[in-house]
């Protein structure tokens, strides 16, 4: 029974992993390309991202494409930044890599009915990626602290601190915006 369970879960995991890599490989390369100019480095970043996602594959919900894409984006960006730091390479523009322009946000996406929600979105976009990534994995991808720690190569304590501080910064930011208006 145990053996059967293991084999079954392994097969499901492999299918899940192939689905993720197939669907988001190009996106991972694109995100990595924001920080890395060398195609080999970008490939490494995508592969590292996949390795990390496999390590928490049981917690990943593949039915929600938006969340999955967000997750791939955060993890790849983090890995790419780390590779970039290691190699001390300069950033390279997107146009150079993809020959496509970075788009402005479409108006329908910025218009948000709830005023507090709008302020919060603005605050999130202004927030440093250090906090934004952790908060996104926690509250958008619904991951646990130890899973976030594994994905971002951080000690769990640091993850907790960043969640706490990130939330405080966002609260402060929307409160200040309230006062200014």
């Amino acid at each position: 029974m145990l053996l059967f369970e293991t084999l079954l879960s392994d097969e499901t995991k492999t299918e899940k992993a192939i689905h993720i890599y197939k669907s988001y490989y190009s996106y991972m390369i694109y995100i990595a390309g924001r920080h890395l100019s060398d195609p080999a480095d970008r490939e490494d970043a995508a592969q590292d991202c996949m390795l990390k996602l496999i390590s928490i594959i049981d917690s990943i919900d593949t039915s929600d494409e938006a969340r999955l894409k967000g997750l791939c984006g955060v993890v790849t960006r983090n890995i790419a930044k780390n590779i970039c730091k290691r190699k001390e390479k300069s950033n390279v523009s997107l146009e150079e890599i993809f020959n496509v322009e970075t788009r402005e946000p479409s108006p329908e996406n910025i218009v948000v009915a709830n005023d507090t929600l709008r302020r919060l979105v603005n605050a999130i976009e202004r927030l440093s990626p250090t906090y934004r990534d952790v908060l996104k994995l926690k509250f958008f991808n619904q991951l646990k602290e130890h899973e976030i720690a594994r994905l971002l190569d951080l000690p769990p304590k640091t993850v907790n601190q960043r969640i706490f501080r990130g939330k405080a910064l966002l609260r402060k930011s929307i409160e200040e915006e309230n006062l200014n208006e």
Partner: protein
Amino acid sequence: MNDKKFEELLGKAFEIEQNNEVSREPSEEELFEAAPFGEKQLEYVKSVCQKDKKFPWTKHVARAAAILLCVSLAGFGLLMIDPGIRATVGDNITRFVDEYINIDFSESSKEHPVDISKTEIGYVPEGFELCEDLSDDEKISLVYADDDNYLFIDIVSSGEILISYELDEHNVTYLKINGYDGYVTYDEVTAQGSVCWGNSSFTVVISGFTSRNELIKVAESISFTR
């Protein structure tokens, strides 16, 4: 806004932020054109998954260990239903975790045997009045109280009563009470303490929420008419 509501709002805000981010990015077709997923990538992900299940026995060992742990915990839980076992385990855990000093007066001076039925208490702190007397032929057990606090006086006709003090929380000091060996312990934070003294024929323990000096004063006021 409470924390739970804020976190819910945060989830929604990140959903919008994600949509905004996606809208700024190239389309999936453009991305695929720039970096297509091919055989090489498929082989990679398959090989990684294969490597991941290279040693499935470790998973079996882990699962077996988890099952064993659950069974042991369930067995332990069943055992703990018995009050005797529970008390023994609790006692052993307490001894293991905390450091204690144990006091008994059985080896103390055998001179001046005392008859506790002729006990006189000469002093109790101001405001304290006797509210309960649980004394019988073998022991004297009195409870004094003022508006907020209690003072307990227990006297037994044996020096073999074991008294334990936790060393971490209390400062235990040796002293003589009316010529008998004694100890006083006082916790400044909770403003409570106790004094115990005796010899091979009796043990007195006074404890309560009053000052250290008052406890000693009460102790010194206790006399046994010979």
